[in-house]
Amino acid sequence: GESVGLHLPTLSVQEGDNSIINCAYSNSASDYFIWYKQESGKGPQFIIDIRSNMDKRQGQRVTVLLNKTVKHLSLQIAATQPGDSAVYFCAEITKTSGTYKYIFGTGTRLKVLA
């Protein structure tokens, strides 16, 4: 069975509403941030990314906001659909001495209610 995300914080959203998933990151020197989703029993799927020199980036139905002042990252999903139900992870990437260090959050489960 699926063991990912057994004890994760859960966000329940009505179908058609907008979802906002939040993530706090740890390193103010992080260069780059990624959001990805993982459906039950499947591998992760890249959603959207943002560089540290940006505040906002938009994709198809998704927007990522970066607030470097408070080290906060959010993923907004417009018109949430049942297919959006998954665990969502954020990741921060820092380049140190020529090497990239990736730190992933533990995830938030999004449940879309019909």
Partner: protein, 112 residues
Amino acid sequence: NAGVTQTPKFRILKIGQSMTLQCTQDMNHNYMYWYRQDPGMGLKLIYYSVGAGITDKGEVPNGYNVSRSTTEDFPLRLELAAPSQTSVYFCAGGKGVGHGYTFGSGTRLTVV
């Protein structure tokens, strides 16, 4: 295009055994990554490669080795399997930082 292909999908190892997890991509991506995901947790980067012949350690490299002799292949080697290496392993390929990646479907490894 198959994208990123991982084999095997499942494997049970005894403590001290060795094995290689295979990862192949047909997208001509320079960047490849190996992650592990423990139950209820996010991904942890084991090793990555920015191109053929170049590899570098990630967050949790101990107990693993990699090689990148071609652009397509990025195998992950466990030399002396330990119970702490029980996890789901994901390989990913991408064009580089800022371009996102494509993940494989994972290898579920149990060490007993």
